[in-house]
């Protein structure tokens, strides 16, 4: 009887081990797919693989292309990608605020248009990325 239990335990553990190791195959496979099938993907293409579901990455590329390196940008304080915006836009300075912030901080060069922001009027040139996202270049 104990021999049977021992054999059953050995078979069970071996099966468990094999199934567990097999479960790594999809992760390994997906990791190798990119380098093997498309080794020459650009940085942008790779970023879109992960961020393609959201316009954020392409929008950040747009902001980068349309603002000088040391400009100051006003963002919606509730911008949903706030914590990862600086990574793409550095060395630009990012300020989160509203109409009052814009009035009090004359160094602000651009107001970033995103999903209903700004809800106040801005005197500046409007440059759009799509119908919801864009920039105001402030007249100075």
């Amino acid at each position: 009887m104990s021999r049977f239990i021992h054999s059953a335990a050995v078979v069970g553990i071996t099966l468990l081990f094999l199934v567990h190791v097999t479960m790594a195959v999809p992760v390994v496979q997906s990791t190798w797919e990119g380098p093997l099938l498309e080794p020459n993907r650009t940085y942008e293409q790779k970023m879109r693989l992960v961020w393609g579901w959201s316009p954020h990455f392409d929008f950040m590329q747009f902001v980068q292309a349309n603002t000088p390196d040391h400009s100051v940008l006003l963002f919606d304080p509730n911008y949903r990608y706030a914590t990862i915006t600086l990574y793409f836009l550095y060395p630009r300075k990012i300020v989160y605020g509203n109409e009052e912030t814009l009035r009090k901080r004359p160094e602000i060069d651009y107001v970033v248009i995103s999903e209903g922001f700004p809800s106040f009027s801005v005197s500046g040139e409007r440059i759009m990325f799509d119908d919801k996202h864009g920039l105001y270049r402030i007249y100075k």
Partner: protein, 447 residues
């Protein structure tokens, strides 16, 4: 560029290797190789951090000076103590199944390197603080701008390692993570092999490395895996100290838990776990208190610079505040049972997510059942496991009762910490039953 990155990684490895020369008498070649990069990188970045706070800019030249200042005295000291820097490599006779297992583990390691090299940092936490802090520090040559990133109270070990990759041209920013993965597997294997033999140790290492979530963490710039290497290392060497009472294991465990505190902000809780285990299993003797103080002292050496800096800069460690807040709430008698039940239910449900964990938890359960007869021999390991589990639940509980974020938000953010911390200790426990079985057989055959 590639050569510069390889040289940088090798330099940190060599630094760790030389530092570990102090433990030459007790460390084997494979485990020394496993520990070399984590120890070298951790001590190097800590020295860079201290130097940067005394006014030295973070540049490649200053890094070279700091590297030499760390390496040369260690080299001198190790030579003075007649410790060899080299080990004799003996090629063991491998069985076919061992070669296959090494090949499979090799594929996992190679996959992690390919994934980390091919993709730029893409994950949210990498972009919002780990890599962002590195980018800011590389651009300015100072520590202070890292505060512009979110979570400024998170220590800078990983970010400073990536800072130098930015300074070397900005390629392969995530490459340090698979290096930690390789170290993790080497460290794990080397320790297991002593207890259960080469084949089973290789199988367990494959089991650990093949866990989907660990595979995922092995290629993205998060500090979870580096933290796991430090913490699991500290747990392993603590257990070895409890087993054979060699002081060098306690020192090594102290260094590793200290470096864990330089890697993620949650380390205090894990220090408490290790300290409790140390005190419990040396039965509160006068000696054990001496050991506990020594352990705390080593931890403090590595934890002090960052904690002082955070205090002076006014960065509140939100996690410590939550842990304290939770404790105060419990002491006041406010135990929220429904919240606790919710967290436990979540833990049970997420443990069944095979795409994340594979069969890790069922495997642990089987191992526990098989080794239950020998619980006395593994009481310290069991204690570490239970305390790890309790601390995980407590972390979610305290965060939920002290924060405005809901319990579901917290459960959603930190669900994976359990893997990197509890798992290796758990697997270690699981396989240890074999040790007991063979010990028992030997005993029978002798008698």
């Amino acid at each position: 560029m590639t050569l510069a990155v390889i040289t940088y990684l090798l330099a940190l490895f060599v630094l760790g290797w030389v530092i570990l020369g102090f433990f030459r008498q007790t460390l084997g070649g494979v485990e020394r190789a496993g520990l070399a990069y984590p120890i070298g990188a951790g001590i190097f970045t800590l020295a860079v951090f201290v130097a940067a706070n005394t006014g030295m800019p973070i540049t490649l030249v200053s890094a070279g000076v700091i590297f030499a200042a760390l390496l040369l005295p260690c080299l001198w000291f190790v030579r003075q103590n007649h410790s060899s820097l080299f080990i004799t490599l003996e090629c063991p006779q491998l069985e076919l199944e061992q070669i296959i297992l090494i090949g499979l583990v090799g594929i996992l390691v190679l996959t992690a390197f390919v994934g980390a090299i091919y993709m730029p940092p893409v994950m949210w936490d990498a972009l919002s603080f780990w890599v962002l802090k590195a980018k800011l520090m590389a651009a300015t040559g100072e520590i202070a701008p890292q505060a512009q990133a979110s979570w400024p109270f998170y220590p800078l070990n990983l970010s400073l390692q990536i800072t130098f990759l930015f300074l070397l041209g900005g390629d392969f920013l995530q490459i340090v993570i698979p290096v930690y993965f390789l170290s993790f597997l080497l460290l794990f294997y080397a320790n297991l092999r002593q207890w259960i033999g080469t084949t089973l140790a290789l199988a367990c290492t494959l089991f650990l490395g093949a866990t989907p979530i660990i595979q995922e963490y092995a290629k993205h710039a998060y500090a979870n895996l580096p933290f796991a290497v430090y913490y699991v290392g500290s747990a392993i060497y603590l257990l070895r100290f409890l087993k054979d009472k060699k002081t060098s294991w306690l020192v090594l465990s102290g260094i590793l838990i200290g470096l864990a505190s330089w890697t993620r902000a949650e380390s205090l809780l894990y220090l408490v776990i290790n300290l409790l285990t140390l005190l419990l299993f040396t039965h509160f003797t006068r000696t054990s208190f001496k050991h506990a103080f020594a352990y705390l002292g080593i931890y403090a050496i590595f934890g002090f610079p960052w904690n002082l800096y955070s205090k002076l800069s006014g960065y509140d460690n939100e996690l410590s505040k939550a842990a304290l807040g939770g404790l105060v709430s419990l002491v006041s008698g406010n135990l929220n049972l429904s919240l606790l039940e919710h967290i436990l239910r979540y833990a049970l449900a997420s443990a069944q997510a095979t795409t994340t964990w594979g069969l890790l938890w069922p495997g642990l359960l089987v191992a526990l059942l098989l080794s239950i007869k020998y619980w006395r021999e593994h009481a310290a390991l069991l204690c570490l496991l239970v305390l790890n589990f309790v601390s995980l639940i407590y972390t979610y509980y305290s965060a939920s009762v002290t924060s405005h974020n809901s319990v579901d938000w917290w459960l959603g953010t930190g669900r994976t910490n359990g893997t990197t911390l509890g798992t290796p200790v758990g697997v270690l426990y699981g396989i240890s039953y074999r040790d007991n079985l063979s010990a028992k057989r030997n005993y029978r055959s002798i008698s």
